[in-house]
Amino acid sequence: MTGHVAPNAPFAPMDAGQQLLQATGLTRRFGGLVAVNNVSFEVRRGEIFGLIGPNGAGKTTLFNLMTGLTPPSGGTLTYQGKNITGFPPHRVAALGIGRTFQNIRLFKVLSALENVKVAQHARTGAGLLQGLTGRDRAEERLVDERAWALLDLVGLANRAGEEAGNFSYGDQRRLEIARALATQPQVLLLDEPAAGMNTSEKGELTGFIRRVRDEFDLTVMIIEHHVPLVMNLCDRVAVLNFGELIAVGDPASVQRDPKVIEAYLGG
């Protein structure tokens, strides 16, 4: 069982700096509202890619489009050269795109440990029969060890047995990152990971995300409102306004872009 690889395991890794994810003309309409309008961009392997924009700009909708939670009204999404537009969320996750949620969606009555175990589903293969006959033991052991290691990483191993719903806001955000990492992603989408954290926690988060990126060889895409954090952390930044992409580039030049300044101060 230990050697089992899920049927849709991630593709072979590619070189750093190469294009990993590509959105082309991605569009989503909700009735008359165009939440995401003809958005095109690419994410390169190994980078930390920031997504900013005023409230209601369509950032979370874009994440939902990228992870299959919301089907796009138009456009395509390519991951490692494969068209994954319209894939259901569990297939997207199995292909190696993991995420957290803006409004924290942990399994609240399950323990922290179980939350992290559950998310290893696509990387394991024991079916009903193996589970009933105990032939999943080797796999279960690995799932357990990995879960503990991930809780160590986010500093929650000493509270492994507690229900996730009892954790503080900041701890829940950290646990959600651990759960997303348990899916063994190549791309990690973080939706406002600093929301609800205090200043010192926010400071630690920058270092933590970098460390995770290096340790797990990840590409990170992050939605964040806290501008200093974005400018400090991201290699490149994209700015959304009213569903449209108005700027992409390195943090310094995006910050000087007149359209960006207008979106934040004018409009």
Binding site: A94, F107, S111, G131, E140, D144, E145, T183
Partner: protein
């Protein structure tokens, strides 16, 4: 043996109803409120009753002897699994109360079918079903139903600790988040539904000889509500809940026999009081008293578990 002569039938009924309560537990593990169990229970009973009484199955009965009974269980289980998939795939697109309503409709359809088909004996039903394994007393059915309860509980226990059980719980908590974490919700919801269907179907097949007759009154809307009451009273978060609820509610009319007509009032009161004061059921309230043991960290065998792909 006096005790068994008097209470044997009741004890077996308690076990049987406990099993039917458990048939709702598995879909509930994955967060699905299915009231389809009486339909599968009725169908399982009809399959057993037909195989055990219909003249066209006479050669089977002669050839198999006592083995005919396990064969009826197997047939009913298989038929329930197939029908469970056929019904489950479209029905499980519905959520919450809509799924409950759709499964009630399914029970109604089967009931109307059984009332109108000739093979099921129409409104009269099937009677003269032979006693299983030549049992001479009703209490002897304990040798069928008690092992069945043990098997289902062991199954539930093993399932809970497994990868599939975790997927069920994740879907119950948040289907969308489970999906985003790599769990295909539809597959596991159908699986949970089918497990419940198979249990109900096999219990039906076991019950046909026990009850001696089988008719359209076996799978009704009333039964759907009764089974739901078992899980509400006992608790739906632990496998002991539906079992206890089923056994308790099955015994209540007998225990309160002395109260004559008042027993129905007491029955209703128990339901109201339990849903008001025991939202997690009896077992849920009891388990809150028990302190949980923290999970044990395994001694690492694999170094750097994180870097490894299983």
């Amino acid at each position: 043996m006096d005790f068994l002569q008097t209470y044997g039938f009741l004890i077996v009924t308690m076990l049987q109803q406990g099993l039917l309560g458990l048939s709702l537990y598995f879909p509930l593990m994955a967060g699905q409120l299915s009231l389809a169990s009486p339909g599968f229970y009725a169908m399982g009973g009809y399959i057993a009753a037909i195989v055990l009484t219909n003249p066209s199955f006479a050669p089977w009965r002669e050839a198999l002897g006592g083995w005919i009974f396990p064969v009826t269980w197997l047939l009913s289980g298989l038929a329930s699994a197939v029908l469970g998939v056929v019904v489950g795939v479209p029905a499980l697109r519905l959520r919450g109360i809509y799924l409950a309503l759709a499964t009630i409709a399914f029970v109604q359809i089967l009931q109307v079918l059984s009332l109108n088909l000739s093979v099921t004996g129409g409104a009269i039903g099937l009677f003269g079903i032979p006693q299983a394994f030549g049992f001479v007393d009703r209490w002897q059915y304990i040798w069928i139903f008690l092992p069945a309860v043990v098997v289902v509980l062991l199954f539930a226990h093993k399932l809970q600790g497994s990868r599939v059980g975790r997927a069920f719980r994740a879907i119950r908590e948040d289907e969308l988040a489970a999906d985003a974490m790599g769990i295909p919700p539809t597959r596991y919801k159908v699986l949970a539904f089918v497990i419940g269907a198979v249990i109900a179907g096999v219990v039906g097949a076991m019950s046909a000889p026990f009850l001696n007759t089988w008719n359209a009154r076996q799978g009704t809307f009333d039964a759907s509500i009764a089974f739901l009451a078992y899980t509400l009273i006992g608790g739906s978060r632990s496998m002991w809940g539906p079992l206890l609820g089923g056994a308790l509610l099955a015994s209540l009319p007998e225990l309160l026999r002395g109260l004559a007509d008042w027993r129905l009032v007491i029955n209703g009161l128990v339901l109201v009081v339990a849903s008001l004061y025991l939202p997690q059921g009896i077992v849920g309230a009891l388990s809150r008293l028990r302190r949980k043991t923290p999970p044990q960290r395994p001694t690492p065998q694999h170094q750097a578990a994180l870097g490894e792909t299983p």
